[in-house]
Subunit: 142 residues, 2 copies
Amino acid sequence: MKVLNKETDYAVRALISLGLKPEGWVSAKAISDEQGIPYQFLRRILQELIRQGLVLSKEGAGGGVRLGKNPVEIGVAEVIEIFQGKVQVSECMFRKQLCSNRANCVLRHEIMRIEQMVNQEFSKVTIGKLIADLKAVEAMKG
Amino acid sequence: MKVLNKETDYAVRALISLGLKPEGWVSAKAISDEQGIPYQFLRRILQELIRQGLVLSKEGAGGGVRLGKNPVEIGVAEVIEIFQGKVQVSECMFRKQLCSNRANCVLRHEIMRIEQMVNQEFSKVTIGKLIADLKAVEAMKG
DNA sequence: ATTAACTGATACTAACTTAGTATCAGAATT
DNA sequence: AATTCTGATACTAAGTTAGTATCAGTTAAT
Ligand code: FES
Ligand code: FES
């Protein structure tokens, strides 16, 4: 059961990469090279992130992209939602045969509790936090 | 982001259905009719559950399937693993460029923590628990 | 003014996955 | 012998995923 697809994966990595270079515009080409992400694929991903306001862009030579929000305010949950839609366990697991009152359905609540928990946890993992962790690891190594 | 696919969904529902009829063998046809699950699809799912030991089977007329384990010992996590493989967030999210020491990788740990939590929660949701909840709802309605 | 380095938008493709169907063989009951 | 069941396995259509390609427009440098 794969949770994150390539779009989300690459998006998070691109955002981290941008978070590490807060000043100036960074080209898609540069990120692609640095992270080993297929160029055209990354371009499409960045375009979506731009549409969603997570990153800003500047056209033309010397242009590129940069973060549009504070890294600590970008949760992985948000990125997942953009590229994979809201976390949903199952549209409705037990149908009318077993369960007629959807509204008060205990089973449904059980499942949705997990759903919410996952979302909450992925929200707490922000780009800012990942960068901090990353720097901590670097410091330890050195 | 869909967490459960149809195989898992149908499998859980079939297991609940079997848990509600502990005595005797139940045919795939009967479950299919009761739950509105496509017959041939359900057959294939049951065959897998049998191979995995979650249900027992008896061939021939008057045969069918029945639970092979105590319902409270069948967690949804186990069913997910059978039909969708182990929950895994991402093979490796940040590659060598960002993160050379996989073993001690903080980022990886962060993600795997969530992974483990999801698994744990889905383990706690057993077929037995779902049946109990279901009966509680029924009682309230009546 | 031209060229080069960029993004914006969008169309396309191959490979894989999912959901569902079909078939034939064999076992137990009647 | 007929019927009702599982065991094994092959097949298909539709959808998704990952990746590619193209053309148009913008900015900067020369
Ligand atoms: S109504 Fe869907 S699980 Fe109860
Ligand atoms: S080594 Fe894969 S995330 Fe660090």
